[in-house]
């Protein structure tokens, strides 16, 4: 085995490693691009929800709608901690936390007064479904998902 053979073998090995790294980065970038969703719907039906639906109808449809977007089916919302629940949540009032919701009927009391509803899938702020209501009718469905965070 001479020196030039070892040298060539080393060069080929380094090139293979660099190629593998480059390929891994390219595949990862493609995966990020392929899984990225940023879509806003103003008419028709999307994600099991229909533009023009009332708040009550929309609230009723949300569990099945969001279960299509997540394997776990877990839905999260952001809430501001108040004085009367800060002990139960072990968080001082005023702070914002993400909590899992079961979207029971009782929760509609909270949502009916809001014109923007935001739901987070798999407890990620980068995987969301946001609904906007105009005059108590659903007028905008915004779906966002990304598996990256920009500096």
């Amino acid at each position: 085995m001479n020196n030039s053979f070892i040298k060539n073998w080393c060069v080929r090995l380094v090139l293979k490693i660099l190629g593998a790294v480059f390929l891994a980065i390219a595949v990862y970038v493609f995966y990020l691009w392929f899984t990225y969703i940023d879509e806003t719907v103003y008419s028709g039906t999307a994600y099991g929800l229909t533009i023009g639906d009332s708040k009550q109808d929309t609230y009723r449809k949300i569990p099945s709608s969001l279960s299509q977007l997540s394997n776990s089916g877990d839905i999260y919302i952001l809430i501001k901690v108040e004085n009367d629940n800060q002990i139960d949540l072990a968080t001082n009032s005023g702070h914002t936390i993400m909590v899992k919701t079961l979207l029971h009927d009782i929760g509609f009391q909270r949502f009916k007064d809001l014109d923007t509803w935001e739901f987070y899938i798999d407890a990620s702020l980068f995987n969301s479904l946001k609904l906007k209501f105009c005059k108590n009718s659903l007028c905008e469905i915004h779906r966002h998902r990304k598996y990256f965070d920009l500096p």
Partner: protein, 294 residues
């Protein structure tokens, strides 16, 4: 008929009397450069209060206020006669000593020598600075939400903070605001696209500092916090966005913007000393401010 007319005239007379009464009660407040009320006058230009203050706020001259005392005092803050102290929102201040009575709720920053004095007022420079609320500003750095934050950190600005992690503080986030080409700009909870979710993530990262175990780090910006707010508000959104601006000419990102604001405010570092990569924070000279155009 005459009775109705009389009633209308009476009503008109009452309205005019009310208007005249309102006009008499108009008071003009006159402030000095630091915001202290130094004079009051009425609509006729009659001066009925005249005050002057020592640099640290002790009253050295005051005429009698015939129309009742004023709570507005040094730099426009509320003064308690009973306590002989001024309230700055987060702490009580003794103008005779030129010191706050309690420790600054913000922690010491190694990059700001003034922060080592836990009781001082306005960086011990009351001619130049005011401390309108006893609150602070920070450059905050959190790991990116990707591969466990492996590639680096994302930085943002916080001001109006009474303490570290204060949920009532103002959080200013930057990112890619799109607009045809990718552009660096301010993002909020309504932002859509690549930087959607960034401002909420930043807010939760800031609030996480109120507990002990967090990966979010910060440096205190050693200047009055409203100045930081003004600088942030004057940032021009006129540069292209890049994930790694150091590798592309004339590009910036959120770390560049936040670092430029912090550096301009107190002349300190444009990054947080946490040992983590903060891409963009070394090219802060690419950020332009409206303040420079004036």
């Amino acid at each position: 008929m005459k009775t109705r007319l009389l009633k209308r005239f009476a009503f008109l007379a009452l309205l005019l009397a009310g208007h005249a009464q309102a006009a008499q009660s108009v008071t003009f407040y006159h402030h000095d450069a630091l915001g202290s009320v130094i004079a009051k006058s009425d609509a006729d230009g009659y001066l009925y209060l005249n005050e002057e203050y020592q640099p640290y706020g002790e009253k050295i001259y005051a005429t009698e206020d015939f129309f009742g005392g004023s709570d507005d005092w040094y730099t426009g803050k509320n003064y308690s006669e009973e306590l002989d102290l001024t309230y700055f929102g987060a702490r009580w201040y003794d103008a005779k000593q030129g010191r706050f009575l309690s420790v600054d709720p913000a922690p010491v920053s190694l990059l700001s020598m003034h922060s080592f004095n836990r009781y001082h007022y306005a960086n011990n420079n009351p001619y130049k600075y005011v401390d309108p609320n006893g609150e602070d500003a920070y450059l905050v750095s959190r790991p990116l939400n990707i591969m466990n934050g492996l590639p680096g950190n994302h930085n943002f600005i916080v001001y109006n903070a009474r303490y570290v992690g204060d949920p009532g503080a103002t959080v200013i986030s930057f990112g890619d605001i799109g607009g045809g080409a990718d552009t660096t700009g301010r993002v909020d909870e309504n932002t859509k696209g690549f930087s959607e979710g960034t401002s909420t993530t930043d807010r939760l990262a800031w609030e996480s500092l109120s507990k002990k175990d967090t990966k979010t780090t910060f440096r205190r910006i050693g200047i009055e916090d409203s100045i930081v707010g003004n600088i942030a508000g004057s940032l021009l959104e006129d540069t292209s966005y890049s994930i790694y601006p150091e590798l592309e000419t004339n590009t910036t990102n959120s770390n560049t913007a936040a670092g430029a604001i912090a550096n301009r405010a107190d002349g300190g570092s444009s990054k947080v000393n946490n040992g983590r990569r903060q891409p963009g924070s070394s090219v802060i000279d690419r950020i332009n401010f409206r303040l420079d155009e004036q």
